[in-house]
Assembly symmetry: C2
Homo-oligomer: 258 residues x 2
DNA sequence: CCGGCCAAGTTGGCTGTGCAACTTCGCTGA
DNA sequence: TCAGCGAAGTTGCACAGCCAACTTGGCCGG
């Protein structure tokens, strides 16, 4: 099996993704230099035998990833050759870990089913009286604990999760086999103090600072499939984001109390 | 109508931005419901008297902001109605604070000029021997300190910064007057312990956890204009990200029978 | 009642065209 | 020498059309 999954562009057989993959490869390999200029859209279009619109579609992908600039009147300029982790790696801990060359692991600490509280119904868009599955998992990178994951699933997802073996590494992959897809997510990142469980699982002191990522994930139809709180040990991970005037994926907002 | 001047879409007189602004307004006001379906692209196009391509361009903006889904074969679905205006607030602490109804403040603690070290030359793409301006600033919201900002400017930017009065609230606005624009930024977010300066300025204990944002900003041409480290008091701000697989998820359902 | 098939509706992808706005650079004239 | 002008090059924006892939819902038959 060719492990092409590393390249998000080439995975689907559309023209603009192929062009984007080629250009990304050329940019990250330094073919255009550190702050070099790309060929004109028309030149790229002719080179690939496609229309200029297709090339523009490909370049929009690279612009969104922060690889190139985009101004009217002048050619695109390489912003950075450093390989930026694509957002797809934010959707799955397993996928993200593997993309960094680490070996992801996980252990299910607890799993229970109970009625959803008000906040959970709000986040998962559930009717009053609905039940949810709540999991607590310890995540490791190459054997060392790095993150505690508290996830709330709606029952139709939780029933699948409950059938997975407790030491399964990836959740999204087996769920995909059941037709449950994770495609869109909203993340909120802040700092929180470790509680007793966190301290025990991560091997840190109670009250020591953890990087918290709250995440609400939906499937392609917009239906929420999970609501999760991940708490990372400092120093092990950091979140990297690129944004530009054209397309902004990151925003800063005042924290609401909880 | 509630036409706020903050609206990023309507600021420029292009068709697709106007359409995007209208749709965003309608979505956030709940006109299509919490998880409602948008009109078809063709219907929107006819309504505005524009081509379908223009509508698609507008919808791409909303999809990038995480407002709507986007699947082949079915109409777009509203993902969330609550959404903050995005980019200008991220680049400018001042602009962000005001949009939240808070009164931003700032005080310059120190400013010096010195040769750039290796890391700074790397980040700002400077020649060996170049000089940089280094500032340390305390930022406040409605009088209370929330953030310590350590910024390194290349000399051509720093010379403008150095001429600003020490109690100036916004930096990006006066710099824009000099033709220095902030358009692209790479952010890295993690946790760090407060050092002596942080503790003194923010009024916290030494070693207490702070949310750190490292930021490298470039102008429209791709030239780095600042490299900054912001350290936030926990509980004051959080960072929010939306990401999407958007299209790469061609789901292979398990075939029945085998 | 249920399952499968089909048609209508909808978005994704690609092409081709045209014009406007903007940048860059060389040349000209003062 | 240098400021300014203008032409060439480049991207942004918009239009029109075509087909493929996919979803949905209804119809029909078992």
């Amino acid at each position: 099996m060719t492990d092409v999954a590393v390249d998000p562009d080439r995975s689907v057989g559309t023209l603009y993704r192929k062009v984007a993959a080629d250009l990304r490869e050329a940019i990250t390999s330094g073919a255009y230099g550190e702050a070099g200029r790309l060929p004109a859209e028309g030149a790229i279009a002719e080179q690939y035998g496609v229309s200029r619109g297709t090339v523009r579609q490909a370049l929009a992908v690279l612009r969104a990833d922060g690889l190139v600039t985009s101004r009217r009147g002048t050619r695109r300029v390489v912003l950075g050759t450093a390989r930026v982790q694509s957002f797809s790696e934010l959707l799955s801990f397993t996928h993200w870990a593997r993309s960094m060359g680490e070996e992801p692991g996980g252990r299910l600490e607890s799993l229970l089913r109970r009625p959803a509280d008000a906040a959970e119904r709000e986040q998962l868009r559930l009717e009053p009286g609905s039940e949810v599955y709540v999991t607590l998992r310890l995540r490791t990178l190459s054997g060392t604990p790095v993150m505690v994951e508290r996830t709330v699933y709606p029952s139709w997802v939780g029933e699948c999760v409950a059938q997975l073996p407790p030491d399964v590494v990836s959740h999204t992959e087996p769920l995909r086999e059941h037709g449950i897809l994770f495609t869109d997510a909203d993340h909120t990142i802040d700092v929180v103090a470790a509680n007793a469980d966190d301290a025990r699982l991560l091997g840190c002191r109670r009250g020591s600072p953890l990087l918290r990522e709250k995440r609400r994930t939906t499937d392609p139809t917009g239906i929420p499939v999970e609501w999760s709180q991940d708490r990372y040990l400092p120093g092990t991970v950091a979140f990297s984001i690129h944004n530009s005037l054209a397309s902004s994926a990151l925003s800063r907002h005042a924290r609401e109390g909880d």
